[in-house]
Assembly symmetry: C2
Homo-oligomer: 132 residues x 2
DNA sequence: CCTTGACCTTCCCGTAACTGGAAGCCCTAT
DNA sequence: ATAGGGCTTCCAGTTACGGGAAGGTCAAGG
């Protein structure tokens, strides 16, 4: 398989696949003309990576997950630990964003949004409480 | 004021303040010895930036917000537009993260987390549906 | 046989918003 | 004189790629 086919089937841009090779996530063979020659196993791994990335795992997490996937002596506890850590990160990000949203939406609601200069949003950014 | 004082009072790392100068967000004076000499207005602007960044606004948004803040002829509608666009982005991110969390937490729950290799998380990443 | 166009290759720069660290000047206190 | 802390600039690295240039390859059409 050439890169274009693998790209459509793994739903990863060709650029991304080349990058993954560069950082050692996949090691496709090479044809005589220099083209990358992907095996089914390469495609499979790339699809795995694509799904893991879609769940927000970092590249390093993905590397770990692939290693675990390929290790028949793994324990599910190792996998679960990675997933749980990531889950916590996600929860943290959600909480942060929700707080931003709460503050911002209050301000947006309070802003008239007309032609006049007075604006609670700017006032809040400028004024808020004591500074240091 | 030297940079250390401004740093503590604006709650921005000195490195960040230097960076903000580099990209033209603040323009502190210089003392004879080459040290940055911050005025109250610089501190005020940096505190403004600090709060805007804490609400998740991009640097470019911050630049716009500062300009609006300093423009007495602004309309609150302009400010509101920036904030609303950002609010939508935040909502989008939250939605994405919540979807990830839902999928991941289902998988984590289903995973035994013991010494055995069988793991629904890896199976899901490896197997899911047809691939292209 | 030649050309055209779609692939493929490598290489290098740019992104966002900093952070870390090195090399070196400045200032105060001992 | 020296030690320390604070200040300066500059360079490199971070994450996970994307854009685009320069150039080799391959299949089809004339």
């Amino acid at each position: 398989m050439n890169i274009a086919e693998v790209s459509t089937r793994s739903r990863l841009p060709a650029k991304t696949i080349r990058y993954y090779e560069e950082i050692g996530l996949v090691k496709p063979l090479r044809a005589a003309n220099g083209y990358r020659a992907f095996r089914d196993s390469d495609l499979h791994k790339l699809a795995f990576l694509s799904r893991a990335r879609a769940l927000g795992f970092s590249i390093e997490d993905c590397r770990t997950l692939v290693q675990l996937y390929e290790d028949p002596a793994r324990s599910s506890a190792e996998v679960k630990a990675v997933a749980e850590a990531h889950l916590e990160e996600i929860a943290h990000k959600i909480a942060d964003l929700q707080e931003m949203r709460a503050t911002l939406s209050t301000l947006v609601t309070a802003c008239a949004g007309d032609h006049r200069p007075g604006c609670p949003i700017l006032e809040s950014l400028a004024h808020r409480d004591r500074e240091g």
